[in-house]
Symmetry: C2
Subunit: 240 residues, 2 copies
């Protein structure tokens, strides 16, 4: 595979960055400032993330035109605040916007920058995230992620796992799908990419959802590459 593939495209939330700790960090500061210091910031992060798929599903189903993730996150945030007993109307807009941008400030897993830097010497490396472009740019600047390009749902105007998200990304790269490899920590994402003809690389992130994580602990298909982290992925793909 490694001599045929030209581009590696990456799932980001969970695969590249640790969204749960990052969101909880900012939620913790927010909850303290707004008199809810007793609330569990990890539960807040989980509750916010739980709204992610249903919000995109409205768009995937065609019930709503394509809307970038920052907007969905902001709508979902209002719901989560209410569930945590905070009336969003009592919070200044600037504070809500700042908290919403917690997703822009997520830290990469410790192996990511070293791995991506090596992978970049041999492959095009690009995002293929449901996160929007501005979010991905801020995150890359925050974490020093050396992407060649920011692609994904907003550029493709389709949320994963819709086939258009993968196929339009390959088309923009002017590559046949089998010269593009999705790197992801999620079996479902990889399965959808494989259906579209992309190559697949699984990198386990066993604490993405905390120490009690039950899903995506192991590969569920014979993915083209299976690696323990991005440095091991660079090794497996023959990068210096």
């Amino acid at each position: 595979m490694k001599n045929h593939v030209r581009a590696l495209v990456f799932d980001v939330f969970g695969t590249v960055v640790d969204w749960r700790s990052g969101v909880a960090r900012d939620a913790s500061a927010f909850l303290q400032r707004f008199g809810h210091a007793q609330a569990d910031p990890l539960a807040f992060a989980d509750a916010w993330r739980a709204q992610y798929q249903p919000a995109m599903e409205e768009i995937r189903s065609g019930a709503r035109p394509f809307t970038r993730l920052d907007v969905l996150h902001r709508e979902n945030l209002l719901r989560v605040l209410r569930d945590f007993g905070i009336d969003p109307a009592t919070v200044p807009d600037g504070e809500l916007d700042h908290l919403n941008r917690a997703w822009h400030r997520l830290d990469p897993w410790p192996d990511v920058v070293a791995g991506l830097t090596r992978l970049k010497s041999r492959f095009i490396i690009a995002t293929l995230s449901n996160g929007n472009v501005a979010l991905m740019i801020d995150m890359a600047k925050h974490g020093g992620l050396p992407w060649d390009a920011i692609l994904g749902a907003e550029v493709a105007q389709a949320y994963k796992p819709m086939p258009e998200a993968y196929l339009r990304t390959a088309d923009i790269l002017m590559l046949p799908p089998d010269q593009v490899c999705l790197v992801a920590a999620h079996n479902g994402d990889l399965a959808a990419a494989r259906e579209c003809g992309l190559k697949t690389a699984f990198v386990a992130r066993p604490i993405e959802r905390g120490t009690g994580q039950k899903i995506d602990l192991a590969p569920e298909q014979d993915w083209d590459v299976i690696a323990s982290d991005f440095v091991a992925l660079a090794d497996a793909l023959g990068c210096d």
Copy 2:
């Protein structure tokens, strides 16, 4: 301006890279291999570039759906070959494809990498070129251009100087137009950007069209910044 602008978006052909020398270099090798060593490769580059605006105009006018620049370049190449007395049917497709990708292998002007690296520490830096994404990615890898994102005509689905090219780029960055500054060596591009509310920076490239260049030697409006090259631009914008 420098404390208000968040993103610098760059014209690329002429402003960032020296398309004329680069295309001529590859055309020279091609013309020699196909028995036309007497042809002038700079004239070949100029003739190819002369087809650029008319090809895009067909799309801007709505007569043709959006088509990426690599496709237009390839069509234009066939015309230029015929004008130079070469029957494209006698040239293997792979050779034509390789020559067409001369635009992917253009070298940056000598000040570009140093200037962009400094600008990147303070601003989002992104392409806003009529060149397509795959072309821009290859060029960035070839020349070591440290873009934060590859944006432009293909992502906006509109060719400059259509307003949509500038306004959709600002929208994708989630910035109001006046927090985005176009950097370009072409007064016409800057004028169109200013009409859309973007800030403007002029960097003269007085030999883009050769030593006899007659246009774009000087700023034609009071652009927000005027700099002699990208290092001077970084100085003017207060970048370390």
